[in-house]
Symmetry: C2
Subunit: 162 residues, 2 copies
């Protein structure tokens, strides 16, 4: 394994750890649990679920790996605070989206040659990338890994009703 492959393995592993933890937490929730707030007056689990789906769906675009599936979720789940009257997509649809988005990312990450991870991401110009090659595709993945962890710290506050 060369050095690039080693570092890609480390960063993808760190991502997989957080996604695995997220799935374990979400899978432990009843449907009703998804409509509980992480703290009084704060976001509900369903909003954070939609938020992570939308952010992770967008990874495909920023890494130039293909077209997004759920760009329509950006407005209600990234740009705007939670609208508790929102009923679309349904929880059942979101569960399907979660599975599809993460299965697709796992396959894309596995197929991406290590050297590709060290090329610029979509939001960087060629000029800026020459100045700072650390702002590459892998840095996007590392940033999103911390972002998942941030929200897991909130999701864990809701104890599943058994």
């Amino acid at each position: 394994m060369d050095q690039q492959e080693l570092f890609v393995k480390m960063a993808v592993h760190a991502w997989n750890v957080q996604i695995g933890r997220a799935e374990k937490m979400f899978n432990a929730f009843s449907d009703d649990d998804f409509y509980r707030e992480i703290a009084p007056g704060k976001n509900r689990i369903i909003y954070l679920y939609g938020h992570l789906i939308a952010i992770h769906d967008a990874i495909k675009d920023i890494l130039v790996l293909g077209d997004r599936r759920h760009a329509d979720m950006d407005d209600p789940y990234i740009k705007k605070p939670e609208d508790k009257s929102l009923t679309v997509p349904s929880l059942a649809e979101m569960k399907q989206y979660w599975a599809e988005v993460h299965a697709e990312l796992a396959a894309l990450f596995q197929a991406l040659p290590a050297a590709e991870w060290f090329t610029r991401h979509k939001a960087m110009s060629d000029e800026d990338f020459v100045k700072d090659p650390s702002r590459n595709k892998l840095s996007v993945l590392m940033n999103r890994t911390s972002h998942v962890a941030y929200h897991l710290g909130q999701i864990v506050l809701v104890k599943p009703n058994s």
Copy 2:
């Protein structure tokens, strides 16, 4: 910059981003805010502050960079759940510890040659490390970076009283 230096720069940058966010949040809190719970019946800010100090103090040990300063904080701030009657160390002492621990880590990280980050950490045997060289010192830093983010997602739930 060679490849190892680039990876180290990326991982240390990711750590610095989370520590910078943490300091911005903690600095915005009044002393009283430190004694507020992140949600009813959950940890107070002061506990998470002590928890991060203890975990980060231990990084020095696991990366074999020197002796710890605050091993006595492991029991009350890592191993045990919050004891709300605890008054030692004081908040003023903890603020000093936070500053010292993070200033020292910043200096140690800056001084550590890139190749050293890819050597085994203290909790890995030589034998296991040969089998899996991705479990190196840099992987510890990446793991701790996600750990800070996890707790920042909780700390942000307390809005500073102005």
